[in-house]
Symmetry: C2
């Protein structure tokens, strides 16, 4: 149990380090581009034309979020590809470790994996200037994606109870991988670290605050797993 | 060599069979949805963030085409999923037979495979009423996609001359598969067959006309392969 009360602060529009903001938008944009690829791949695996359509529409929405985030980078005078480049490797690692073997694992990656990432991105908006934070919160995907995947997963688990065990295991693996990737992402460069972690500047999360953030990700994940009747 | 002159006719807006048009729009829409998944998957395999971006943008454009075609179906009072359903199996077969093993094979599937399909769809618009035909021709992807994939393939072939042989072989396999799939698609149901093939109604291609269509697909394919320095 965490006893100390952690803090997070954004020092206001003027002093939030711009290079860090560009880096963070780079993480978010690249995350969305990868989520787009991911959801499209799961859509391709879907067993019916209707589920291919529904997931295809979700994938297209992830792309629209990516475009909004890239647009914001261009407004700041930053080439999106440059801002995204440093995250190529950590994201590739995550996707290589969590490659869905079939349609149900694909749904699980959308329902649980992408949701952890979105929760993380939402938390990170706390360190941004209010205007960028509002724009990012607005852009990030809503819960419709989770709802769609949850419905399909609940049906599948009901029809095949051995599936529950396999998916519970996958959920635990995803949470573990996500926590280590989240820390790798935060450490990618000094600009980003200065934005996210308060190392005496009054900007970002202090260590306890960051631990609490990770704990909140875990709690939300546990609730999502419970909504499927699975132990986290 | 084809000596007879084949014909194709659309009997005009009033008498083009509506059920056939819905079927044809179903083929086109499902083809685009699958192309969207395909390009997204190739984008995911792309080696650099920039090529992931470029191919991601192409994938999103395929989705936009799919949406236009679905919209047209809805206008006609047809549920897109229902119009697409009969093509689930033939399309699955094509994609299962031509699954790119790596980034270069993926580019080849976009450059040569998707292009054969688009050529075929363009030819089929000849049997539609003029208004629907114009809308479909407008919606179908332009050559930008081919140009992007061609540039990347030419670079890769230049760097690795063993690649040329492997891609030439893949191109031949794709053409063969495409021709048999095209015929399977045309045969999927009577409505579609009545629209596409003139069986005494004066609507559609006569047999010679359809053979000539397939020959034109082959010629265009040969030219695309030649543009890569490959034999078809």
């Amino acid at each position: 149990m965490i006893e100390h009360s952690g803090t997070v602060a954004s020092a206001g529009t003027s002093s939030v380090p711009e290079a860090g903001v560009a880096s963070l938008l780079g993480v978010l944009a690249y995350g969305e581009l990868m989520a787009f690829f991911d959801v499209a791949r799961v859509a391709e695996m879907a067993p019916t034309v209707r589920s291919q359509q529904e997931l295809g529409a979700l994938a297209a929405r992830e792309y629209a979020v990516y475009e909004q985030l890239s647009g914001r980078l261009r407004q700041m005078g930053v080439e999106p590809a440059e801002a995204m480049q440093p995250f190529h490797e950590p994201f590739d690692n995550w996707h290589a470790r969590i490659t869905p073997a079939d349609w149900h694992e694909g749904l699980m990656k959308i329902y649980a994996g992408a949701a952890i990432a979105t929760d993380f991105y939402r938390e990170l908006t706390d360190v941004l200037d209010p205007q960028t934070a509002a724009m990012v919160r607005e852009a990030l995907p809503d819960d419709e994606q989770a709802a769609l995947a949850r419905t399909a997963l609940l049906e599948a688990i009901e029809q095949d109870d051995r599936l529950a065990g396999r998916l519970a295991l996958l959920g635990r693996r995803m949470m573990g991988e996500a926590l280590s990737q989240a820390q790798l992402v935060a450490l990618v460069n000094d600009d980003l670290l200065d934005l996210i972690m308060d190392r005496g500047t009054g900007q970002g999360f202090d260590l306890v605050g960051f631990q609490q953030l990770l704990a909140r990700l875990g709690e939300k994940h546990t609730r999502r797993m419970a909504a499927l009747g699975l132990d986290a």
